[in-house]
Each structure stands twice: as C-alpha cells, then as structure tokens.
C-alpha cells in the first residue's frame, strides 16, 4: 500500500514537473506508465481509512488559504475533522486516473459542472446525498446528481479604457469587432467561454446558445485569428492584460477586480453577457473520509457565511440564493449572481459541455492553430 502511494505521489510530482517544463515528455510518460503498472501489480489497497481528515483537491494559490478560512474553520469547529489540501488541480483526466488506480486520496474536488456530469456518467464519482446537503442552499437547477455548484465563476472580458474610454465595448459583438475596436484580443486556450461568446457575437440569442453550433462559433473566432492570442492559466490571462499585450481580453471574472487594481483602473471588466460557469464540488468514488463526512463538508460550504467569505477572498460568486442579497455593494459589479448582473449573464450548460466538450475543445485547438 505504501508503495502504491509512493507511485501515485511520484506520478503527481512528475506531472507537476512536466507541466512546469522541468521534465521532458518521455520521462513524464514513463512515470505515468510506471504509476499504471504499479496499480496492476498492487491490486489490493487498504479501504479502512477512517474519516480523520477531509482532503480537498483544489487549484492552489490563494484558494488554499481562502477555502481553509471559509469552509475549513467552521467545519472543523463543528465536526473536529481537520481539512487538508492537495493543490495540484483536479483536472478530469487526473480524477479518472485516481479512481481507476483504486487508491483515492482526495475527498472533494473543486471542479467544473461539466466534470460532475461526465465523470458521474462514467462511474468515477459518489452521488451527492441530498439528505445531508441542503438543496435549498443551492441555486435552482445546479444541485446535480454527482456534484454541487458551490460557487459560480464566469468568462467576462476586460477592455483598455485608454483606447476605448470614450466609447467602451458593451458586449461580445464588440469584443469580436476588430474594425470598430482595433487591437489584440486574448482568449482562453481550451474553448470555454470563447465558443459561447463567439455565438452571441454572431447574433445567436442568449437562450439559443446551447446546444452550441461549434462550426459557427469557430468561424467567428477565426475571423479575429490574426489579432488573437490565447492563455492557459488565470495568471497568464492576468499578465497579458496588465502588461498591455491586448486591447481586450477574456478573463475569469473572479480576477477582474484585482486586474482593475493592478492596472490602476486602466482596464475595466464587462460583465454583460458573461458566461457564468457552475463550479462543482465532486466526490471521487471511494473517497477515504467516507460519504457522511464529505457530504457534511459540502453542506458547510453552502452556508451563507462560507459563501460570502469565498466571494470576498477569491471573487467566486455564491450559489446559495440566500447569500445573493448579502453580496456587499463593492463586490456587486464583479459577482455573477449579484442583483445587477444575474439577468445579464448566460448560464453555462454543463450537460452540453460534458457530452460535446471534448470534440469542441479539439475543434477549437484546430481552429486557432
């Protein structure tokens, strides 16, 4: 068992090193294969791990401190169970690998709505127990069978007030109009948000965005290809704007406030028609802490206090309808579910992304390459 854990940790380390460019591809695949082989060789793991801790798998950075403060503190006070973190980023492929390997080390993953649908369907997740998790605390329609939308974030865009201050861009049509608003654009590398934005820009009504007409979206995106660059991480998107590389750039909405501050107000965010993404807390099948403890944890994350702390700390918008009204005035313009934005944003359809997302991402990569 110890060996297997070692293998797994080694694979995770290797993945981190590989992504950072410190390890070449062949070595990385060796480690992946090695972890796989080890899994076959060691078939019986130990299943009797008690709920002595909850391990949350998130994306690192600020989120570790913020999740600890918002959810960890009240949860531990109530249950005496401490909260620990794995900050390597729960991408779909990594969750699948963890569950398939039979050695699950995380209890709850800070993932996306479409991950909940896709991995739930393929049998890699525990169903959410709504006798413990209070459905009333979740925005209607986002209490999924295999995941709870604890927070919302969004794809919005920011523009350079120095270039367009007099006549600022207002919607996706303006974002994709490089004649009226000349300058470079930055978009997300793996399609989310860009595909929906392109459709809205091309005249699709907000209610008809899903199911997405991918070829139509890609045609629109190709029309600004020579003026576009693409980012793969929140910090890269941040840098592209703050360093003045683009006149307009798509960002994760929760970073909008800090970019406005870092650029001393030069760049402003447009929340109109932002694509609101349900983030989802999902539970890998066979999680070490057991179902009850982790469901209690998710329920704690849904309390108004926890939700408002996450908003303040990370800029992620509450999902609990009771918390919407309590969003502080200063954060209203940046939040997805605030009174002034909730009717202007378009809510992502996780079912469509779960089913067609893989093909859409590959078609997107082909179109921008």
């Amino acid at each position: 068992m110890q060996d297997k854990r070692f293998m797994q940790e080694m694979a995770v380390e290797a993945a981190t090193a590989f992504q950072a460019g410190k390890m070449d591809r062949r070595t990385f695949l060796t480690f992946c294969g090695l972890a796989g082989v080890a899994t076959l060789a060691v078939t019986t793991g130990n299943a009797e791990a008690a709920a002595k801790e909850i391990v949350m798998w998130n994306w690192g950075g600020q989120s570790e401190a913020c999740h600890a403060k918002a959810i960890g503190t009240p949860f531990t006070a109530e249950t005496k169970i401490p909260l620990k973190f794995d900050t390597s980023g729960p991408l779909q492929g990594k969750i699948k690998e963890m569950v398939d390997s039979g050695k699950v080390t995380a209890d709850v993953c800070d993932a996306d709505g479409f991950d909940a649908i896709a991995l739930g369907k393929s049998g890699h997740l525990e169903p959410i127990d709504y006798t413990i998790v209070d459905k009333k605390r979740i925005k209607e329609g986002f209490a999924l069978e295999y995941g709870v939308s604890v927070i919302f974030y969004g794809y919005a865009f920011m523009y350079d007030t120095k270039a367009f201050g007099a006549n600022p861009p207002k919607n996706w049509a303006d974002f994709f109009d490089t004649k009226k608003f000349p300058g470079k654009r930055s978009l997300y590398k793996w399609g989310n948000g860009s595909i929906e934005g392109a459709l809205l820009a091309d005249g699709v009504a907000p209610k008809d965005v899903y199911p997405c007409d991918v070829p139509r979206a890609l045609k629109k995106i190709k029309s600004i290809k020579s003026d576009s660059i693409y980012w793969g991480s929140g910090s890269e998107a941040h840098d592209m704007i703050v360093n003045g590389e683009v006149a307009m750039g798509i960002v994760w909405q929760n970073r909008g406030k800090s970019i406005e501050e870092d650029s001393k107000g030069r760049y402003k965010m447009v929340m109109n028609e932002a694509i609101a993404m349900p983030g989802a807390y999902i539970v890998p099948k066979g999680n070490p802490a057991g179902r009850e403890a982790v469901m209690k944890f998710i329920n704690t994350a849904m309390t108004v206090d926890a939700q408002l702390t996450i908003l303040d700390c990370l800029g992620m918008t509450p999902s609990n309808p009771e918390a919407f009204a309590k969003i502080p005035a200063g954060l209203q313009p940046y939040a997805v579910n605030s009174k002034e934005n909730i009717d202007k944003v378009i809510f992502n359809d996780p079912v469509w992304w779960a089913e067609k997302g893989g093909d859409a991402v590959n078609a997107f990569l082909d179109a921008i390459g």
């Binding site: 591809r25 695949l29 090695l34 699948k96 693409y230 793969g232 991402v361 990569l365 390459g369």
Partner: protein, 283 residues
C-alpha cells in the same frame, strides 16, 4: 562454463546490471503499457491509429511539430557550430570563460528563459520600447506569441545542446591535418570546406539528432511563446490526457513519437555508425 566463455565474460558487466534491470523494469514495462493503451482505449483495435490518416488536425499537428523542430535544429546547429568553432580557436583562458557561460545558460530553467524572452520581446518589452523611443518603428513588432517567438525560444534553449557534441568532436581533430592541407597549397576556405567540415560531420549529425529529438518533446516554450497558436505534440498529448480525457489518442501520439525516433536512429545507423558519433571518435 567453458574456459573461452569465461574469458569472454567481463566481470565489469556486473556493474551495469542494476541500471539495466532498473531500465527494463521502470522504462520498458511502462512503454509497453502505453503501446497497449494506444490499441485498447476507448475500444480495442487500431481506431486511434486510423485517426492519423483521417484527421486533418493530427496531420497538421504533426507537420507543425516537425517543421518547428527542423527549423530549430537548423538554426541551433548552425549557430552552435559557430560557437564551438570559436571556442576551439580561442585561447585557453577565454575558452574556459566561454564554456562557463555556455554551461550556465544550459542549466537555467526553461521556464525562466521563456519568461525572459517574453519580457525582452513582448509588445511592451525592452526591445520594442527602445525601438519605438528612438523612432525606428511606430508599432511594436510581434516577436512573441507566434511561431517566430517559439523558434527564438527553442533555438536559444537548444544551442548548448548543439555546442557540446560539436565541441567534443572538434577536440578530437588533429590540428596538424589542417596544417598539412595548407602546406599542400589549399587556401583557408578550401581547407575548411574540404578538410575541416567533413571531419566535423559526425559532430554535426550528433548535434542535429540530439537537438531534433529533444525539440520534439518541447512543451512550455511553445505553450507560452506561441500564444496558444503554435500547438505541438507534447501539449496536445497533455490536453488529451487531462482535459478531453482521450487517453487512447494521447497514447497513440506518444507511441508514434517513440517509434519515429527509433526509426530515425535506425535509418541513420544504416548510413553511419551511431556508436562513433556518440563515442566522439573520428576514426
């Protein structure tokens, strides 16, 4: 064991036995696992390989990778040749300095070097700002976030990889051969083209092979300096592993790369002894 077999058995082979065993266990076995995955996921069969001829995306991806790697190899080896040649003909003290600088750049992380290029050559980077302020250009030049940027970053990173085998090769050349050539009436240029250059051919081939094969797996440089528009195989494999969860496609591409590299070395071995190249011995 007969006495001849005993005599042929070199006990020093025992020294490499642990490494050989480790390679077999930790390297060969996982590679077989990946080959296996490429013909079993999502369904058993050659479906993943079929995509190679059906999918324009994959063909373009492979072509982009090969094109970027070939151009990188050409420039890295050409520039590396100049560096190695200069080092060979510099004074001992100077050569030591040059080698130290080369090794330092060799050891600096690829991430640091990539971001340095971004700061130097970006839209608001040092080079563009300077050129604009002295009035040479009015709009910034797009050095990075495109294929040119990827090539600048990769050539820069690969130069030390080209210099080291060339240097080893050039050190093995007896300088008296050039003197002989000059004494027999050849000009400087003739001596270089007809005597020196052919003698460094094994070094050039070793450097090219090393640079080309290493370039194939580049991930971070194209991802950052390419602005998302220069997609190479390594990044695509990572997307298929982690984002779209198509492990079969990822394993197929990894297998194709492995097989291509082995094939490349086999073909080259037909024309020349690879052993001599990597052994650095001219004879």
């Amino acid at each position: 064991m007969t006495s001849t077999a005993l005599r042929r058995f070199n006990p020093y082979w025992m020294l490499v036995l642990p490494v050989t065993a480790a390679v077999a266990l930790l390297y060969i076995a996982p590679i077989i696992n990946i080959l296996f995955l490429s013909v079993t996921d999502p369904q058993p069969g050659l479906g993943n390989y079929q995509k190679l001829v059906e999918s324009d995306t994959l063909i373009r991806l492979i072509w982009t990778t090969i094109r970027v790697c070939l151009i990188t190899t050409f420039f890295a080896v050409s520039l590396g040749y100049l560096v190695a040649y200069t080092m060979m003909h510099a004074l001992e003290g100077q050569r030591r300095w040059m080698l130290s600088i080369l090794m330092i750049s060799f050891w600096i992380s690829v991430l640091v070097r990539t971001f340095s290029w971004l700061m130097l050559l970006g839209r608001t980077g040092l080079v563009n700002e300077t050129l604009i302020s002295v009035g040479v250009i009015s709009d910034p030049i797009a050095f990075v976030r495109n294929e040119v940027g990827v090539l600048i970053g990769m050539v820069d990173y690969m130069i030390p990889y080209a210099v080291l085998p060339l240097l080893a090769n050039m050190r093995g050349i007896d300088p008296r051969i050039m003197s002989a050539s000059r004494s027999l009436g050849a000009s400087n240029l003739q001596t270089f083209v007809r005597v020196y250059l052919p003698l460094t051919k094994p070094g050039v081939i070793a450097a090219s092979l090393l640079v080309f094969i290493s370039s194939l797996g580049f991930y971070i440089t194209p991802a950052i300096l390419g602005g998302g528009k220069v997609l190479m195989i390594a990044e695509y494999i990572s997307v298929q592993l982690l984002v779209t969860v198509r492990w079969g496609t990822a394993a197929m591409l990894a297998s194709i790369m492995l097989i291509s590299v082995l094939l490349l070395m086999y073909i080259l071995n037909r024309f020349m002894k690879l052993g001599t190249i990597f052994g650095g011995d001219v004879r």
